[in-house]
Amino acid sequence: MPKTSELEPPRIIVEGVRKTYTLRHTQSFKETFVAWLKRKRTSTSFQALNGIDITVGDSEAIALLGYNGSGKSTLLKLVSGVLRPDAGRVLTRGRVAGLIEVGAGFHPDLSGRENVYLNAAILGMSKDEIDARFDEIVEFSEIGEFIDTEVKHYSSGMFVRLAFSVAIHTELDILLVDEVLAVGDAPFREKCKTKIREIVAAGKTLFIVSHDLGMVSDLCSRGIVLRRGEVVFDGAIGDAITTLKASTR
């Protein structure tokens, strides 16, 4: 069983959470009306998560593992607040920064500098906080003099580096990472790993989704395996990877 710190209350509580997606087959009033006349079903539902219970403590680094479509991103979106559960509840303590997708708020026609400010504000930072960290963000991204160039002229690696750098420098208590370290070259990934370790060492909570089992076993101590929307394993990372490899989609 996961050991949560005796002194501190948990950071994330997921309790009996269920998420059902409704897939609508109609896109307009007319289609809806016609389907209704013909008594056709206008939607089908899909159970993406079913009865999930997870408690995450302070300064824990947790890997969320599972094959495609097992519900990992859905769970992360529930924790970040982008989606709401259909049953059960999700509670968080402290500031949540979600890297559900880095660079979601980047605008190609704005310069790197403008985008840093915009994206950091989107992730919940105030102007003073951004001003104070701006140099650090640029430094970490290794963008250098390109910072005043429009982002559309960046290579995709540069784009991701800057976006990741912004996200990782936000004031946070809980960091949610979904499949974003896969991009960027080897030296940068090393740097990110170091930075993530620093964040965990500083007592922050990390919730990471990745198919890169090597990296995950490197960074995390606890692993949760999802299969078809249900938790099939929750425990030490090594055993989690073994479970995952033994299971089927």
Binding site: T55, R93, G105, D109, L118, I122
Partner: protein, 289 residues
Amino acid sequence: MSKTEPVDLSAFSVPGSGRGILDVFSYGYLLRLLVRKGILTRYHGSVLGWAWSYVKPTAQFFIYYVVMGVFLNLSRGIEAFPIYLFSGIVVVNLFNEAFGNATKSIVNNKALVKKIYLPRELFPIADVFIAFVHFLPQLSILIVVCLVFGWVPTFVQLAGALLAIFIVLLIATGLGLFFGSINVSYRDSQNLVDLILMFATWTSPVLYSFTMVRDKLPTWLFDLYMLNPLTSAVELFHSAFWFPTTSETAERPEHLWFFAGISVVVALVMLLIGQFVFRKLEGRFAQDL
């Protein structure tokens, strides 16, 4: 699961639960940046850039003036017809831009809505502010033209103009929240809005005088016409900009301030309805987009 000793939940919050429009104020800095982004990228890649904000309304004005004033001879009864026309057009333009963009804002900001939790009201509201910024060049043209024609407004008239802008922005926000949230699931919504915008120019006294409506319609229908918040906004602008440049003998609508007061109430009610529907539908935004 593990033995759950009662945890003190007071420090916890439920992710994704906000206070709607009230939360927008605590995101003031982000709102400013979003508005700034909208303004910076508006004329991106065009040579004339911001000059377009002057060219477009001027061209629009000339078309209406030539067709309505010269060909159809509507200007007959109306003194200083060009100014009359332009002071109404700018109000309707503000409404159209604010309402039209706010309706599409959630869909346009898909990437963010799906990936990061923010009070989603930020997007339509930012669009309303952007529309206001684009209204300023038109307002400045209007002021310059009025000054040339010896414009000396009273304090009350100017207050009326400010009230008109307030009414238009408020009602555009309310309608934008309403139609914008429906637009996520049913794109019919934005077509319906285009239709409403087309009507907006004609159902308020922009291209003609309110007296023409009054003389043709039964009293109750005319009262209804006057209850249209856009009508009071346009007439408040006429009073502030056009009227002082004339010999001040033209007839003005009765009880204009009363109708303006009603408009504020209507706009506030619309804002409440818009916010209510928005919050009802918001839970589905991220999965439906």
